[in-house]
């Protein structure tokens, strides 16, 4: 029955990740690998060095900065105070939402200051991430299932989904700002008079809807690539065995598409956690739509070192989420992206 068609009995075509041996095996094989290693390190060196300069150096630099005090005027004495080592004080301040008090020490940040927004920004970031990724997964899966069918005009649909993806996020934000304007088309269509960017929930929904529109196509295409790797005869066999459509979906489609799906969800999640452009342009972070990225940007001009601490916290949060995905949810990114490339035609 359908249950026998477990994920183990069907293997997608050999993944491109497997090492390719070429040339005669046997004598000299070890030497060959050795010389290939040398070749590889020369070929990889420019990329590794470039990424070292543009990524590794800033990370280390940010960590060093985050352990320094921000230079500035002491609010109590009005005198300029130099920076100097701060230990983990910047981190403690963000997490405890503490601000420097006049005359030394810290007090709870007054409402409205950047220092008092850490937890609300974290909550907003995770709220946006969970809601948008859920919507995009469900919608994207549905779109992928449709695009996987054979029908006239299928290539037109596949082309159409690339349109939202190709529009820059900054343009998308302005476009949706116009759609959600008070006299705009959204209010007109739904016969409503909502000030979309004027209060908390409409503003949040505006961001969510715009983000879902913009990024669902990417999700759909990744899932579609996964769906196309499932051999058609598996479905035929299940049909012959009398499996219903729902059984085929649950027993074949889901388990076989799961690796591609997990990678797609991982990518979108990491992307959503650093969400910046949409809320920054659409709502300027007002009405509780400030994400962690927006908070970092707002902090930069008020103190580099404190901003560096916050950006490091953001980085650690994203890293931890990625780690959980790869370690516990089985998103095998490296192997999977090799495999998707292979199966896609």
């Amino acid at each position: 029955m359908a249950t026998e068609l477990g994920p183990t009995s069907v293997k997608p075509p050999a993944s491109g990740g497997t090492p390719i041996h070429h040339g005669p095996k046997g004598v000299g094989e070890d030497n060959k690998i050795l010389s290939q290693g040398k070749w590889a390190s020369w070929l990889l060196a420019p990329t590794i060095i470039a990424l070292g300069i543009v990524i590794v150096y800033p990370i280390i630099s940010a960590i060093v900065m985050s352990l320094q005090k921000d230079a500035g005027l002491d609010p109590a004495t009005g005198l300029f105070t130099a920076g100097g080592p701060a230990g983990i004080q910047n981190y403690v301040n963000w997490i405890g939402q503490q601000c420097a008090a006049p005359g030394g020490g810290t007090v709870a940040c007054p409402p409205g200051t950047l220092g008092g927004q850490f937890w609300s920004a974290t909550a907003t970031t995770f709220f946006f991430t969970i809601v948008t990724v859920t919507f995009e997964t469900v919608l994207g899966f549905w779109m992928a299932m449709i695009m996987a069918r054979t029908f006239k005009g299928r290539s037109m649909v596949r082309a159409a989904v690339l349109v939202p993806w190709a529009i820059p996020t900054a343009v998308t934000a302005q476009l949706w700002l116009f759609i959600f304007a008070f006299e705009g088309i959204a209010n007109k269509l739904f016969n409503a008079s909502i000030l979309w960017t004027g209060s908390e929930w409409p503003a949040k929904w505006a961001v969510i809807i715009a983000d879902t529109w913009k990024t669902t196509p990417f999700m759909a295409l990744l899932i579609l690539a996964g769906l196309q790797m499932i051999p058609a005869d598996v479905y035929e066999a299940a049909k012959v065995d009398g499996a219903t459509a729902w059984q085929r979906f649950r027993m074949i489609t889901l388990p076989l598409v799961k690796p591609a799906l997990m990678v797609a969800i991982l990518f979108r999640t990491l992307d959503a956690l650093r969400m910046f452009d949409l809320p920054y342009i659409l709502t300027q972070g007002a009405n509780n739509t400030t994400t962690l990225s927006i908070l970092v940007i707002n902090q930069i001009r008020q103190g580099f070192n404190s901003a560096a601490a916050l950006s490091t916290i953001t980085f650690i949060i994203i890293f931890l989420v990625a780690f959980i995905f790869v370690r516990f949810l089985g998103a095998n990114v490296v192997e999977q992206s090799g495999a998707t490339g292979k199966g896609k035609k």
Binding site: I20, H22, G23, G37, W39, A40, L43, L44, T47, I48, L51, V54, I55, P58, A62, M65, W142, V157, A159, A160, V161, L162, V163, P164, W165, A166, I167, P168, T169, A170, V171, Q174, L175, L177, F178, I179, A181, E183, F218, L221, L224, A225, A264, F267, L270, F276, D277, Y280, V296, I297, F304, S311, T314, F315, I318, V333, S337, G341, K342, K344
Partner: protein
């Protein structure tokens, strides 16, 4: 009696065939309805942008679905510099930044991709993991140290200050996409070239590079698009003279300070988007393959 049963049987069979056909038709119909819903969902907002771009300012909030009060004025307004907008300059800036970033990333990345796709070496998965991790790296984690560094060395608002950070996400994307394209290429030809006496380097230049051209072209487009769309870093490190289109559009000013010039913004958005959309639609198959292979936005 017998003939009656035969007719009855045939009638029943016909009926059965008809229900099967109906079910098939119904399934097809549902597919088409779903496809139409996807088309409308994806295209309607973009369509609205274009329609508004061609609408007279006085009718900004006209909500008729078909084009009305058609004019080209908004495109002139978009390029008008009298309200402090520098859209033309911004377009040029985006082209400069995108081109330089793409060329650098391709020149460096093509070697790495070749190694990752073709050679056997230790730590291959580690390197792949590092490059993939780099592409998922949050921009905000780079911005603070770069902001301070570029302020200190007087690079704020320069082109190099906008190009260098973009390499951090365009280069990993390039390597990743090219690697998966390279894995699918007919490498037997390289073997034959080597049998004919080419060195590995010659085989790469003379046989593989021409074969790889379409893959490289697709990757270049994906790289250019991701640089073209960048906003966060540019919004902080550029100035009025070097800002790219995304920053210019996000801060587009109108004649009245408290009135957003939507029609001009939509015209600017249309100019920024249409060439990319056409390119993407023409190269649809390749782009989708590259997008899902590299699996990076």
């Amino acid at each position: 009696m017998t003939s009656a049963t035969a007719t009855e049987l045939r009638a029943r069979q016909d009926k059965g065939r008809k229900t099967a056909q109906n079910r098939e038709k119904w399934a097809q119909g549902r597919t088409y309805i779903s496809a139409a819903v996807i088309l409308i969902w994806c295209l309607a907002p973009a369509y609205w942008m274009v329609v508004t771009a061609f609408r007279e300012v006085g009718f900004t909030y006209d909500t008729s679905i078909l084009p009305t009060h058609v004019t080209m004025d908004n495109f002139a307004t978009a390029f008008d510099t009298s309200f402090g907008n520098r859209f033309g300059q911004a377009l040029l800036n985006s082209v400069i930044i995108g081109t330089v970033v793409t060329v650098i990333s391709l020149v460096i990345g093509v070697f790495a991709a070749y190694a990752l796709a073709r050679l056997n070496f230790r730590f291959k998965f580690l390197v792949l993991g590092f490059i993939l991790g780099a592409s998922m790296f949050p921009g905000v984690a780079l911005i603070t140290p770069l902001f301070q560094l570029f302020t200190n060395i007087g690079w704020m608002g320069t082109y190099q200050a906008l190009i260098i950070p973009n390499i951090s996400f365009v280069l990993p994307l390039t390597v990743y996409t090219l690697t998966s394209f390279f894995r699918e290429m007919p490498w037997e030809l390289e073997e034959s070239a080597r049998v004919d006496g080419c060195t590995q380097g010659q085989a790469f230049r003379k046989v593989i590079m021409p074969l790889a051209a379409p893959a490289i072209f697709t990757t270049a487009i994906l790289a250019f698009i991701s640089s073209w769309n960048e906003f966060l870093i540019a919004s902080q490190l550029s100035n009025e003279a070097t800002q790219p289109v995304t920053v210019a559009i996000a801060s587009f000013a109108g004649a009245q300070p408290n009135q957003i010039p939507y029609t001009a913004i939509m015209a600017a958005g249309t100019i920024v988007t249409i060439p990319l959309v056409i390119l993407v639609l023409v190269l649809q198959r390749k782009i989708i393959a590259g997008l899902t292979a590299g699996a990076v936005k």
